[in-house]
Symmetry: C2
Subunit: 300 residues, 2 copies
C-alpha cells in the first residue's frame, strides 16, 4: 500500500510539473542515441518514446548542437536507427551561423568536420575574416587549430563563432571532447570571447519556439547537458529535464549530485537542492546510480 501511495504522489507531482505543456524540445545525442563507430546506437526505449510523443499530439522539435554532420546526413543516420524524424523538424546551429555570416559580410575559416561542410556551401571562404568552429573530432589536429589561431591573431577585431560550447559528449566507447574546450583554447590564445551559436544561446531556443509556434512556458527542454540544455532553456523561461543517459555522470566534475539512500522507481534525487528526479522508464528496474539509464532528473 505504501508503494501505491508513493506512485500516486509521484503521478501527482508529474501532473503538476507538466501542467500547460504543449510541446517538447528534445536534445538528440545522448538522449536518443549515442554516437560511435558505424554511426552509433539508439538508446533503449528512445525510438518508442519519440513515436509516443508524436502520437500524443504534443508538438516536437529536435534541438541539437550536432555539428559533425550536415542535417541531411544526421537525419539519415537517425532514420536508419529507427527514429521518425525529418530535416525540417531539426533546429541546429549551422544554418543560424550562416545567417550571421551573411548579415555581417563575414568570410569564415571553417574549423569544422568535413561532413558538415555542405552546410556552408554558399559561404565565401576566401581571405577569411573570421573563424567558425564546430565539433570537429579528429579534424581538431594541431595544424588545423593553429591555422584558425593564425587567422584570428592576424585580424584587428578577431571574430570567433562557435557552434555550441559543450564540454564533452558520449560515444559508445567513452567520453569525447566537444567543441567547447577548443573554443576556450582559441579564446585564451587570442584573448577574445567567442560568439556562441546553438545551445545554450537564448537565440537558439527562441528560434526553436518560433518554429513550433509556442511560448516558452508551454514547453519543456529534455537533454543530457546541465549547462547547454537545462541551463540554456531555463534562462529562456523554458522548463527543463535532464536525462541520465548520454554524458550524464554521477560524479561529473561540473555536476555534483547527492544521492539519497532511497532509489528505484519513484525515488527522488537532489542536485544542490535544486533538482529532484524520478524514474520514468518502465525498463529500469535497478536503482544503481553509476550506470546511465533512461532516467530523468528534474531541474526546477
Amino acid at each position: 500500500m505504501r508503494a501505491m501511495a508513493a506512485a500516486a504522489a509521484t503521478a501527482a507531482a508529474w501532473a503538476q510539473r507538466l501542467a500547460g505543456v504543449r510541446g517538447l524540445l528534445l536534445d538528440v545525442s545522448g538522449v536518443l542515441y549515442d554516437g560511435g563507430d558505424g554511426g552509433g546506437t539508439a538508446i533503449p526505449g528512445s525510438v518508442e518514446a519519440v513515436a509516443r510523443i508524436k502520437q500524443s499530439g504534443l508538438k516536437l522539435r529536435f534541438c541539437t548542437n550536432e555539428s559533425q554532420k550536415s542535417r541531411d546526413k544526421f537525419v539519415g543516420l537517425l532514420q536508419r536507427l529507427g527514429f521518425d524524424i525529418s530535416v525540417n523538424e531539426i533546429t541546429s546551429p549551422a544554418p543560424a551561423a550562416c545567417q550571421i555570416l551573411k548579415e555581417r559580410g563575414l568570410r569564415p575559416y571553417l574549423l569544422v568536420h568535413d561532413d558538415v561542410l555542405p552546410e556552408f556551401n554558399e559561404m565565401d571562404t576566401s581571405n577569411p575574416n573570421c573563424v567558425v568552429i564546430a565539433d570537429s573530432g579528429d579534424s581538431f589536429s594541431y595544424q588545423n587549430v593553429n591555422k584558425a589561431f593564425r587567422v584570428l591573431v592576424s585580424l584587428e577585431n578577431p571574430v570567433l563563432i562557435s557552434l555550441g560550447e559543450g564540454r564533452y559528449y558520449k560515444e559508445s566507447d567513452g567520453l569525447m571532447l566537444d567543441v567547447g574546450p577548443y573554443v576556450k583554447a582559441l579564446e585564451y590564445a587570442c584573448d577574445i570571447r567567442a560568439e556562441v551559436v546553438g545551445k545554450p544561446a537564448p537565440e537558439f531556443f527562441q528560434a526553436a519556439l518560433r518554429e513550433m509556434g509556442l511560448e516558452a512556458h508551454e514547453t519543456i527542454m529534455i537533454g543530457d547537458d546541465i549547462v547547454s540544455d537545462v541551463g540554456g532553456a531555463q534562462r529562456c523561461g523554458i522548463r527543463a529535464l535532464q536525462v541520465r543517459t548520454g554524458k550524464f555522470r554521477q560524479n561529473a566534475c561540473c555536476l555534483k549530485l547527492s544521492m539519497p539512500k532511497s532509489s528505484g522507481h519513484g525515488a527522488f534525487y537532489t542536485h544542490e537542492e535544486r533538482c529532484v528526479g524520478m524514474d520514468v522508464s518502465p525498463r529500469r528496474t535497478s536503482g544503481e546510480p553509476q550506470s546511465p539509464q533512461p532516467f530523468i532528473v528534474w531541474t526546477s
Copy 2:
C-alpha cells in the same frame, strides 16, 4: 648636440635601472633563437650577446619553458647555432615536474612531445593518476588530447600538471600555439585548474635564483613574453625586460602598446603607462614598430 644629450640621458637611465645587477635570467626561444624547420635560426646579435654577458662577469642562467625537447637535445641545437651554453646552465620545467611526481606518488599520462619523453624516463606511467601536459606541437592530436581528458575525468581528484602556460610562440614561418591553450581546453572540459610548473610560477624563478646563488633584487629577467617572463619575474621581485623579438607583437591581443611618435635610438614607448622602452640594439636603424627587431621594452 641634442642627440648627444639624449644619449647621455639614456645611458644614465640605464645605469639606474641596472644598478646592483649581478646576474641575468635569459629566456631562450624568441630571445636567442626562433624555432622552425631544421631546428631554427639564431636571432641576429644574440650569439654575440651571450658571449659578451659571459665575458662581463655577470652570472647567467637560461630560463626556458622549452618542453618540446629534452635538455640534451635543446642544448645540442643551441650549440649548433653557435651559442656558448651547457645543460647545467639551464632551468627548465621538466625536472621540476619529475620532482613533484616523485614527491606525491603520481603516475603521469604524458601529453608531451616524443622528444621530451627522455626527461620522464624514471617515471612510472602505468595506470596513470594524473596528466602532465607540455608544448606538444603536432602531438596535440584530437586523439591524444582526448586520452588525457579521459584520464582526468576518470579521477576523483583530477591532477593536471602543466609545463608552462604560454599562449603562443614564434617559429620561422609564423606563430604557433603553445601549451597554454591546451591547458585551458582540459581545464574547461573537466572544470579543474592546472598546476603550472615553469614560468610564470614563482617556484621556477626561485629555483633559478638558488642555482645562481643570487637574490631577486640582484637579477634581471629578459624575455619576449609579457606574462610568463616579465610578469612572472616581477611577482618574485625580479626586474624584467621584454625584448621585441620572438612572439613580441605590436598589436598582440594580450599586449597593447601605444607608440609615441618619436622612435629610433633612445625613443621611449609606453605600455598602459607602466612600461617604457628603448632601443639598445646597435643593429636597429629603423623606427618601424610593426616588424619585430632586437628591441627592449622596459617594464618597471
